[in-house]
């Protein structure tokens, strides 16, 4: 029976076996304001008060200015590695603008402005990038610690959203992630489970076209991130991530659906104009022309055009905003500088609710060593404070 078992040549068929593929889906990209600054669809302009339109602008400028200043600070050795959101301001700000303070944000690094909008202090943001654990308390803001391990926060956010659902709360879990994160197992398992549970979660992918040096085209054979929602029986929304009003619409829509029990995967198509982080040299893997191309699609400029169209630009005192942000930044640096020196006990205190005898012993011995051997301090590059 094992012999003569099957056709000698490989199976072949003339049958017309239908397949489903991305060619069958039309993934539209939501847009309100065109790249040239003109409104594509007046109906789609969100119904916001003029002040709010102006706030949006201020936040975008703040994001940009913060990134610039932080990058400079890093170059002067006054900050650790820094990850800029340059080019992604519309995605970062437009999304956060559609949330409420009660929502929980799961950040992964580039969303300074979103976190500040959510209530985090600028000082704490700087402290984070100075490597001070205290900052991850995210004091005063419903923000989880940064997910430095890419994708690892996604299932955690699903759990958080599950809690929100069990509570009957009207808040969502809002997850920031990059295009690279979409290739992780954690993404898949976390989002699939969210879909099954029907929890109020919005998975917001900033597709900035790169994961360090890996272009999106090689990250996956899929054309878009949004279409991945189909794998989870979810809605996928694709939005022009350089169009702040479109991002706002997309996230507002997603948030509402999520609250109704339908989590959503949003893809904001944008571009990381800066280096991956301050330790990266993007000239190794991408062409200047590409960067310039995207500079022409600048989200801040585009939104200025909208404001101009709307007759709101005269209300903007650009100079004043930048000055205000710069002052805030200076104050934040000063506050970070003034942050109390961290005590070594902190390393041991937060491992468990109660330190174990072993942890207490380790601390005691180490304190003793620090006392007895002042030369230890030669090895401790002194940055235990902000």
């Amino acid at each position: 029976m094992n012999e003569q078992s099957r056709p000698e040549s490989p199976g072949s068929t003339d049958a017309d076996v239908a397949a489903v593929s991305e060619r069958d889906v039309d993934v539209a990209t939501h847009r309100v304001v065109d790249a040239d600054g003109s409104v594509v669809d007046p109906e789609a302009v969100p119904d916001l008060a003029d002040d709010r339109f102006l706030d949006l602008y201020r936040w975008m400028v703040l994001q940009r200015t913060f990134d610039e200043r932080a990058t400079k600070l890093q170059r002067r050795g006054l900050l650790g590695t820094y990850a800029s959101g340059q080019g992604q301001e519309a995605s970062i700000i437009g999304s956060a603008f559609a949330l409420t303070d009660d929502d929980w944000i799961f950040p992964y690094g580039r969303e300074a402005g979103a976190l500040l909008m959510h209530g985090l202090s600028m000082r704490d943001l700087l402290l984070y990038w100075r490597g001070v654990e205290d900052a991850s308390r995210m004091e005063g803001a419903n923000v989880f610690g940064f997910a430095i391990s890419i994708g690892s926060h996604i299932p955690v956010a699903t759990g958080k959203a599950w809690g929100q659902k069990l509570d009957g709360s009207d808040a969502v879990s809002f997850v920031n992630l990059g295009d690279g994160a979409t290739s992780t197992g954690a993404f898949h398992e976390g989002i699939n489970f969210a879909g099954v549970l029907g929890v109020p979660a919005v998975f917001f992918t900033q597709n900035n076209q790169y994961a360090i040096s890996m272009p999106f085209e090689e990250q996956t054979a899929a054309d878009t991130v949004a279409q991945k929602a189909i794998a989870y029986g979810m809605d996928g929304i694709r939005v022009d991530g350089n169009d702040v009003l479109a991002v706002y619409n997309a996230v507002a829509t997603a948030r509402e659906r999520a609250l109704a029990g339908d989590p959503v995967l949003v893809e904001a198509v944008t571009y990381r104009r800066a280096a991956h982080t301050t330790s990266d040299d993007p000239t190794r893997y991408r062409e200047d022309e590409e960067v310039e191309e995207w500079e022409r699609r600048d989200p801040v400029e585009r939104y200025r055009s909208f404001l101009a169209d709307r007759g709101l630009l005269e209300a903007v005192d650009e100079e004043a905003i930048r000055e205000e942000v710069s002052e805030l930044f200076d104050e934040a640096v000063a506050a970070a500088d003034a942050y109390p020196e961290r005590d070594v006990a902190e390393l041991f205190r937060y491992v468990h609710a109660e330190p174990t005898p072993e942890l207490e012993r380790q601390l005691e011995e180490f304190r003793d060593l620090l006392d007895r051997r002042p030369e230890m301090h030669d090895h401790i590059e002194h940055r235990p404070k902000g």
Partner: protein, 322 residues
Amino acid sequence: MQATIIEAINDALHEEMASDDRTVVFGEDVAESGGVFRATEGLLEEFGEDRVLDTPLSEIAIVGAAIGLAAHGYRPVAEIQFSGFLPPAFDQLVTNASRIRWRTRGEITAPMTVRTPYGAGVRALEHHSESLEAAYGHIPGLKVAIPSTPADAKGMLTSAIRDPDPVLFMEPKHVYRSFREEVPEGEHTTPLGEAAVRREGRDVTVIAWGAMMHNTLEALAELPDVDAEVIDLRSISPLDRETVVESVRKTGRCVVVHEAAKSGGFAGELIATINDEALAYLEAPVRRVTGFDTPVPLLSMEDYYIPHPPRIEEAIAETVEY
């Protein structure tokens, strides 16, 4: 009441779900079918589908979601069907569960429990028999608890669920049903991080945990002349160094029994602890009786791998006579 380990676990889950409605139980096949070992039997019927859930086949999501749910104020008790399927979720343990309190300086915490049956001896398929407690016990911030008796299974699981921090609760499935003993009814907690002296003695200290506790007692039954002190470690992390050290200082001899592979196994930490604080008292090298440095065999050769009583007996006898 008289109960087996699995019954005691089931009882603890019933008690905790009844006493704290933040307790949520989930995992693969835990709801409708009551768990492949029936640990969660009856919970769905009693507490409803909001609090007792079957999940997709997603270990990363099970552990990850437990972290988020715990951070939100619930008391998740997640089941990983066999400990051999915990490795896919290793990252969630290392990267999030164990350090969320630390990362956020106590602002966000993860009072969660991950239950998982572990160990060999049930004639199961590949990956169903492993013991990786040493790897998990090395993650700072993660508690690793292993009961060996029904009363402890109930008490320690209750404590794990109430613990303000993540606890990996490894259940010796080989002895899930092998015997019954008296288990306190109603609320019953057993502190985590404390070893139990199962038997006092002066000749030698024998340390074991999980199913190996029973192999050890069987081995000692063959050695009526040996006055052994038997420590049920119960907690891999935090480690109760004091009980270990005190005992070895008294007996001067020690044997450690575990079923995980020898090299890099948890016996190493125990021996290091003894070396630290009781070296001068040692009258013989500490002996290890462990699994081999091989994968756990499939069922036909599984029994070669497990440290059965004669192996333990020999090691104890040799240590006493050393």
